[in-house]
């Protein structure tokens, strides 16, 4: 983690909320509200958080698939925040994304083989027989059979579609892959295959990943560092083992405690946090989590905690214990 491959500074993305016949703007969704992080070369940054907190928006902003409202994105040191479409195109080879919704991100009228091979064709990396061979290789890598290359997306199961997306992202051998829940639809054995594949690729080629997932176990396996988001902000970011061993933000703690354990004898399905998830349109004042936090103090309602270092590069945004969060 010597040099930063991706550097995101104070990223914000606001969506207008419109209503009425004239569709006047009545509010703003603070989908991403000031997020900063870096991903080093060969590093995996896990990004977890509740659903709707803006993970996908971060992911898509990084690739400039949505135009950030403000902030800066630097890839390999170069600021790509304001590059034109054309100027951006060469950079696309070095960053790829696996979308959260595999089916919708596959062109229904193209065969799986064409979809996976297309990036190679577009960038003129292969054609004809070679293209086919390389596509077949990619299929095998993600655990699909080459004979499935001529099938259409709707003929695949959910998990298979997700693997097609992964294969497409891998095709260009990018330096950064943004994985937006790439294994959520996979069964554990294939999930294991895919994660192993990602890990192997990283070891061989020094890929970097921004890895978004809900499954903390998976994140735990693949990440070097983990960031936890809540309502458009990063509330905690730390090296993986540090975070899992010593979570400081109450939300992180709730997350970890909510992970279902694969042991039927140890049932504990009582949710640890309750209450309504606040809306990104009217985020609660102060600490956004205070509405659901068991340890909320008066201060939390008014004062917004900054992301502060609590030692060892473990940053947390919580007012408890002088801003170092709740100790274990």
């Amino acid at each position: 983690m010597t040099e930063a491959l991706l550097e995101v500074t104070d990223l914000r993305k606001h969506y207008p909320v419109r209503a009425g016949v004239l569709r006047r703007q009545v509010g703003t969704v603070h989908a991403v509200d000031g997020v900063s992080f870096t991903v080093g070369v060969g590093e995996t940054l896990g990004l977890v958080g509740e659903s709707g907190c803006g993970k996908s928006t971060v992911a898509r902003s990084v690739l400039r698939l949505v135009e950030p409202t403000s902030g800066q994105i630097r890839l390999e040191g170069e600021d790509i925040t304001h590059l034109s479409k054309a100027a951006l195109r060469p950079h696309r080879r070095s960053m790829q994304i696996v979308f959260q919704d595999p089916f919708a991100s596959l062109n229904p009228r193209m065969t799986a083989g064409d979809i996976v091979g297309e990036p190679l064709a577009v960038h003129g990396l292969a054609s004809g027989k070679e293209l086919e061979a390389r596509t077949a290789k990619l299929f095998e890598q993600v655990g699909l059979r080459p004979d499935q290359m001529r099938n259409f997306p709707h003929q695949f199961s959910g998990g298979q579609r997700q693997r097609i997306c992964i294969a497409r992202a891998l095709a260009l051998g990018p330096r950064l892959i943004v994985c937006d829940e790439p294994v959520s639809a996979l069964d554990v054995s294939i999930q294991a295959q895919v994660i192993n594949l990602l890990i192997d690729l990283q070891r061989q080629h020094g890929f970097s990943y921004l890895f978004i997932a809900h499954d903390l176990a998976v994140v735990a396996h693949i990440s070097h560092r983990v960031a936890v988001m809540y309502l458009g902000r990063i509330v905690e970011i730390a090296a993986k083992d540090e975070l899992f061993r010593n979570p400081r933000h109450p939300y992180t703690q709730a997350l970890l405690a909510s992970v279902p354990i694969a042991n039927p004898l140890a049932r504990k399905l009582a949710p640890l946090v309750d209450g309504d998830v606040p809306s990104p349109v009217n985020p609660p004042s102060g600490c956004a989590f205070h509405t659901r936090c068991r340890f909320a103090m008066d201060r939390c309602r008014t004062e917004r905690p900054a992301l502060l270092d609590a030692g060892d590069g473990h940053q947390v945004a919580c007012l408890l214990n002088d801003g170092t969060g709740r100790g274990q």
Binding site: R60, L63, L65, K85, L88, R89, P90, H91, R92, R93, M95, Q96, I97, F99, D101, A104, S105, L106, N107, P108, R109, M110, E118, P119, V122, H123, F152, H154, C165, R168, L172
Partner: protein
């Protein structure tokens, strides 16, 4: 409707003992037992096209599966061949006038009779296929191509390009087809290329609007985003990802237009603006003066009418089938 639903609800209270109900009606999605037992797997697979991979087998299979479409294709092919080999098929010179045999009924000598000039109707229809198909295919292709380009560009790029293109097509649309045709023929004289252009121009906004509408919707889909993330150029995205997904309405539209352009030429002829005499076009054969003979010599209008209808049917049936074949979800 809702009443009947509630009615059947009451049959299924929690824990009611099983009461299998016989159902004589045929069902849509599921299959009843009797049917299940007799499923002919081989037949079903054959229907799904399993044995028809590659080459002629596949074509034959598709023809079997889309009988109407195949019929359409056969008709269209027949017409195209007729147009090409008109000189060999026609039994008489379509232009030679012979007062002696004017208005002859259909007979062995004149299969479709003769017109008031004594010209052989069959030969005129055969030769007329050249002009009518040229008008139909030519103007559809011309208008369609430009329309697709305009529609894709404006729908995909949106923004000011869209606004400008839409305004231009507004302008084209605001000039009614026949007005345009009138002006064109008045300015340039009625000739085949002019008729084709006059008919093609109003097609442009039609096609471009359909394509644009589809493009607008498609643009928002994640797979387009996916294509962008690969670093694909906008042109390629438009052509490879957007266009194929607008193909279905396009094919339907184009084939429908193919038919209607032939009819438009007929309407132009009716207004005296079509392909000039003496060259036969189906539309001209059906035009005003023929109307006067509709009663006394019905063959003068029946046969060109059938020719037009056949061509329209052929094009459209084939178009429908093509749409179905190109729909990946239909391929089983």
């Amino acid at each position: 409707m809702r009443g009947s639903l509630r009615g059947s609800n009451s049959h299924l209270p929690l824990g009611e003992p099983p009461s299998p109900r016989p159902s004589p009606r045929k069902r849509g999605e599921g299959e009843d037992r009797a049917h299940m037992a007799t499923i002919d797997y081989d037949l079903e697979l054959r229907r799904a096209g399993m044995h028809a991979t590659g080459g002629w087998r596949r074509v034959l299979f598709l023809a079997q599966r889309h009988v109407l479409g195949a019929a359409g294709l056969v008709i269209m092919t027949a017409f195209v061949l007729t147009a090409i080999f008109a000189d060999f098929i026609a039994r008489y010179d379509p232009l030679t006038i012979d007062a002696a045999r004017a208005l002859a009924r259909p007979s062995l000598a004149h299969w479709m009779g003769t017109d008031s000039f004594g010209r052989d109707v069959f030969s005129r229809i055969i030769h007329g296929s050249r002009i009518s198909l040229a008008v139909g295919i030519g103007s559809t292709a011309l208008g369609g191509t430009i329309g697709v380009i305009v529609g894709l560009t404006s729908g995909y790029l949106s923004g000011w390009v869209d606004l400008v293109f839409q305004r231009v097509s507004d302008v084209l649309q605001a000039l009614p087809l026949l007005v345009l045709a009138l002006i064109m023929t008045a300015a340039l004289g009625p000739s085949l290329p002019n008729v084709i252009i006059a008919i093609a121009i109003p097609l442009i906004p039609t096609v471009s609007r359909v394509v644009r509408a589809n493009t607008l919707a498609l643009r928002e889909l994640p797979f387009i985003e996916a294509a962008k993330s690969i670093g694909m150029s906008e042109v390629r995205i438009a052509l490879r990802h957007v266009l194929p997904n607008t193909l279905a309405p396009l094919i339907v539209l184009a084939t429908a237009q193919l038919g209607s352009t032939i009819l438009t030429e007929a309407s132009l002829s009716f207004l005296g603006l079509g392909i000039p005499e003496p060259y036969p076009s189906w539309g001209r054969m059906l035009s005003e003066s023929a109307a006067e003979y509709a009663r006394t010599a019905p063959w003068l209008v029946i046969f060109p009418g059938i020719a037009i209808s056949l061509a329209v049917f052929g094009a459209n049936l084939f178009g429908d089938a093509l749409r179905d074949i190109l729909d990946p979800r239909q391929r089983g």
